[in-house]
């Protein structure tokens, strides 16, 4: 049937039109050819409406725009898959005249490096990667610091001494978080321990909810997560147990269950980097040769912000605040010896403090975490 081909062609055109309509949505598509404003581009992994990772970057972009006003012009491309296709999108942003481009997910590392090589006079800033070039810097947040405070609150809140923890994938960043949580937990409650369940996905609300139900059935009464959806907190709310939000404030989803949430605050970093471009003083800075990033800051620099401590007694909130402030002013070292892994082997001697390289080389659970890291 000749007709069938025509129809399929029509269908393809229709879908293409729908797709282009959606792609054409970014609200920042103003044409300002000679306004002289510095153009700043962003590459997003998902829709900024995800209420998680990308949402936090979008908030940072808005802070950046508000901070500089007319002096800069920001734009973003959303839903960019990680991998080779990202290079095309980044090149597009260069072609549109962006002078500094932030690529906001780990998987953009190689594409960003590739495009950075092609355009030496454009600055690139990659989030959470470890590969660099003369015109490509990396930035990251010390997410694990917030998890120590979570551990403190969990240790003082739990009655069953059983904490449930949802992990996405057993990679160094997630292991760091679990260990940091365990350090906080054991600092206040030596009898409590953590059961970890790997969901094998960053984002699968139904599976996250299922894992939360399983952990509650296993006796956990405080839940933590290193996955992206609010499903775990909603499950906790329904079951009457407590939990912590991820990346952004999730108390609307769980008004009685959320103890607090660690919020990624990218604004200060973006403002810093763009200021340096405006001043002509942009450099990659002194970066260590591991995952930490040229810039790796946490609670002390407001890169990580903890939301209000809720649904807990005042004395618990006070201890949480003390831990937060101790981390911020450097008086509290999360990974300071004596520290043992969960099989009893000594990792740090008394008084010894782990350096950033050690943080990214963690392939063990510290005391307080049950089980083994899957290979």
């Amino acid at each position: 049937m000749g007709n069938a081909k025509l129809i399929i062609a029509a269908l393809v055109v229709l879908i293409a039109a729908a797709v282009f309509y959606m792609i054409g949505q970014p609200p920042q598509e103003k044409e300002t050819a000679d306004s002289g404003a510095l153009k700043v581009g962003f590459v997003y992994l998902t829709n900024p409406g995800d209420h998680g990772w990308t949402y936090a970057h979008e908030v940072g972009r808005q802070q950046l725009q508000d901070h500089f006003g007319d002096k800069i012009e920001t734009s973003y491309v959303e839903n960019v898959p990680e991998g080779p296709d990202a290079a095309r999108v980044i090149r597009d942003l260069v072609a549109q005249g962006n002078k500094i481009i932030f690529t906001t997910s780990f998987g953009y590392m190689d594409p960003t490096l590739q495009v950075a090589g092609e355009y030496p006079d454009v600055y690139f800033d990659h989030i959470t990667g470890y590969k660099r070039a003369a015109n490509m810097a990396t930035g990251n947040i010390r997410f694990y610091e917030g998890r120590y405070v979570q551990g403190v609150v969990a240790g003082l809140t739990t009655k069953s001494n059983q904490i449930g923890y949802l992990g996405a994938f057993p990679i160094p960043e997630v292991i760091q978080g679990i260990n940091s949580f365990a350090r906080g937990l054991r600092s206040v409650n030596p009898d409590a321990s953590i059961k970890v369940v790997w969901v094998n996905s960053w984002y699968d609300p139904v599976k996250e909810a299922d894992a939360a139900k399983v952990l509650i059935a296993e006796g956990a009464d405080v839940l933590a997560q290193h996955t992206d959806s609010p499903a775990m907190l909603q499950t906790a709310e329904k079951a009457g147990v407590k939990g912590f939000g991820q990346s952004s404030d999730m108390h609307e989803f769980a008004p009685n269950a959320q103890l607090f949430s660690s919020v990624n605050n990218w604004g200060p970093y973006y403002i810093d980097q763009v200021q340096k471009v405006l001043d002509g003083s942009w450099t990659t800075g002194e970066g260590p040769d591991h995952w930490a990033g040229n810039t790796w800051k946490g609670i002390g620099d407001d890169f990580l912000v903890l939301t209000e401590f809720k649904n807990m007694p005042a004395d618990v909130a006070a201890k949480a605040a003390a831990a937060r402030d101790g981390i911020a002013n450097g008086s509290l070292n999360i990974f300071e010896g004596p520290m043992q892994d969960n099989e009893g082997n000594e990792v740090l001697k008394a008084g010894q403090v782990m350096d950033d390289g050690g943080l990214w080389a963690m392939n063990y659970y510290v005391a307080g975490v049950e089980g083994k890291i899957p290979n």
């Binding site: 269908l11 829709n47 409406g49 209420h51 790997w198 139904v206 299922d210 609307e252 049950e370 899957p374």
Partner: protein, 302 residues
């Protein structure tokens, strides 16, 4: 503890039962609709939208079903009205549903609703272990009822016989005077309604919020389940509970400290499907009940 795990398994199976039963009827009439994932997402976004705007979860259920049916109507128009390729159109429907649901759902992100309440049946729900069967919600009870009615309709009624005959040989059915395309349209719309209900179950019961692509591949599992069930409604229930059971047990196994790698358990449902597919292809399609004209376009002129 085991009762809570069992309850979780049952709840996680419900959307699979709903979607797979709908797809089963469509496939029995000879239409392969690969757009289940897209229809589920449209059902999910419509259900959440209706429930959060009206404040009534039951309207949400209805909205989800109707939305799934409307999208299935588009599919039916192309596949039946214009005789387009079913596989290509079905895939297009999934892409279309994914994108459109994201667009419609954008203003709904970040909102929460009170989910569908559990209807606990007094007395029966107190029973040890089997009591959890009586602690479910309206849609879950409904899903079992729908399977029962579908099974009865397909196997015990004249209408069901006609539907099956259309799927087995549309030319013969046409020669006997049955309206092949109308029967198929009905089956496709039913499939869409059920996929919509399945989608609705996610934001109304399992995770009371809307998020883009929240089905995370469950539409494809439903499609695999139809094959797994060899086109028999009750086997869909068994398959769905098995799939749900493996999913939950791999999570529970981690919490209990079993040493089996979770990645291995995660892939078990897919391995089971592949084994069934191999078994089916080895022993002949007819014996296992695959409709002979599944996926073939019908032209009345021939």
């Amino acid at each position: 503890m085991y009762e809570e795990l069992l309850l979780t398994i049952l709840l996680t199976s419900v959307p699979l039962i709903l979607a797979a039963t709908g797809e089963l009827v469509a496939e029995r009439s000879g239409v392969l609709n690969l757009g289940v994932e897209g229809m589920m997402l449209m059902g999910a976004v419509a259900a959440f939208g209706a429930a959060s705007l009206s404040g009534n979860v039951y309207l949400g259920i209805l909205g989800g079903g109707i939305s799934g049916m409307l999208v299935a109507g588009i599919f039916g128009f192309f596949v039946l009205g214009l005789a387009t390729n079913q596989v290509a159109t079905g895939l297009a429907l999934t892409i279309f549903g994914t994108g459109l649901s994201g667009l419609i759902g954008a203003p709904l992100v970040g909102k929460a609703i009170d989910g569908l309440p559990a209807l606990v049946i007094p007395g029966l729900s107190e029973l040890p272990l089997v009591g959890v069967l009586f602690q479910l919600d309206l849609l879950a009870y409904l899903s079992v009822l729908i399977v029962a009615v579908t099974s009865w309709f397909l196997m015990r009624t004249r209408g069901g016989l006609i539907l099956r005959s259309v799927g087995i040989n549309h030319d013969s059915a046409h020669a006997l005077g049955y309206p092949v395309l109308w029967v198929r349209l009905g089956a496709v719309l039913f499939g869409g309604f059920m996929a919509g209900l399945a989608g609705a179950y996610l934001p109304l019961v399992l995770t009371p919020h809307w998020a883009e692509q929240m089905t995370a591949g469950r539409g494809w599992i439903a499609l695999a389940l139809v094959v797994f069930a060899s086109w028999r409604p009750w086997r869909v229930v068994i398959g769905a509970v098995l799939f749900g059971g493996v999913t939950i047990m791999q999570l529970a196994g981690q919490a209990k400290g079993w040493t089996i790698p979770s990645q291995f358990l995660s892939m078990m449902p897919y391995i089971a499907t592949i084994i069934v597919l191999v078994a089916i292809s080895g022993r002949g399609r007819i014996q296992f009940g695959a409709p002979a004209h599944l996926g073939k376009s019908f032209h009345a002129t021939r």
